[in-house]
Amino acid sequence: MKTYRFLIIGTCMMAMAAGRPLFDYGVGDTVSPFRLKNVDGKMVALADYKDSKGVILIFDCNTCPYSKAYNDRIIALHKTYASKGFPVVTINSNDGEQSPGDAFDEMISRARRKKYDFPYLQDESQQVARAFGATNTPHVFVLERKDDAFVVAYIGAIDNNPRNGSLADKKYVEDAVNALITGKSVAVKKTRAVGCGIRWKDV
């Protein structure tokens, strides 16, 4: 029992030392509630979405070329799916010191310039990214609401063609959300993509 406890503590410490996520949600897990500051200065909580079918939660940023390449596709996801009960919520977890282009002021200008009609939240403590086990930007977590809980239904990339969305032959997020809307099970639940690692604070 004692060894077991040491193992758990040891693993946690190793994970923290390596700057890796601590909890790492898997598909089917219920996520912990969070409340973060939006670019309009107001606080946004996951619990605010209690009337939607779910949320397309995206860990994103200003500076990553993948985020830039996917920016219009993220805006389009909200346009298509907000009215169908799956609005987009974006979170920037990059440390503003390591990546000055991701400071809160820069987030405000990005949201203004691109006319975001969805939240762009600052995860200053990086606790939300760590809880989710977000690693890349953009990194998508499709959440399905089940009563008061939000359950992870899909984790990964938006599609399989970062260069050109119109050439993507696998649209992972659209497929997952379409399945949830029509009451089917999500076929591809987890994908990997090349991307910019989240800029963790120095520990």
Binding site: Q98, N160, R163, R192, G197
Partner: protein, 168 residues
């Protein structure tokens, strides 16, 4: 100072001056464009026994910041150690010119290859099951001891040497 250590330092000085001569002449390598099978073959190659494989891109600031650590290993010319810098720039931009210019400008001496693969979801897991696909990422393989280490984050100064020792 023991004579052996002096000889090693002398050798290093000679090597560094050699590198400098090359750089003055504008020497730069032409990085090869490879497929996943080529990369897997390279990683499985038992000679030299120690492989340091770093996944990076020119646009990735933490990657660029840690390149000197790999260049240092290459410059040390340790027998049996091979550094390979795998650029993933082609994933976003099909034109390799930017990478070629970067190699010339920074005078990169380590072996650079450009991975040309589509559908990252299919190939990332074949490189390492622990890898999310986030950059930078480094894999250390020692075929002699059969040990392997995946590092899914940016390296700190001196960390690469410590990880390499751990593979002994």
């Amino acid at each position: 100072m023991p004579p052996l250590k002096a000889a090693v330092i002398m050798e290093k000085i000679l090597f560094i001056s050699g590198v400098l001569c090359f750089s003055i002449q504008g020497f730069s390598q032409q990085a090869e464009i490879i497929k996943l099978a080529d990369l897997q073959h390279l990683m499985e190659e038992e000679s030299p026994p120690v492989h340091i494989i770093n996944f990076w891109a020119t646009w990735c600031a933490p990657c660029v910041k840690e390149l000197p650590f790999f260049e240092k290993i290459t410059a040390e010319k340790q027998p049996g150690v091979q550094v390979t810098l795998v650029s993933l720039d082609l994933d976003l931009d099909p034109n390799p010119e930017k990478v070629y210019r970067f190699i010339a400008r920074k005078n990169i001496q380590s072996k650079v290859v450009l991975l040309d693969e589509t559908d990252p979801n299919a190939w990332i897991i074949k490189i390492d099951s622990q890898w999310s696909g986030a950059l930078p990422a480094t894999i250390l393989i020692n075929h002699q001891t059969g040990k392997r280490r995946f590092i899914g984050k940016a390296l700190e100064e001196g960390e690469l040497e410590r990880f390499l020792e751990g593979l002994q």
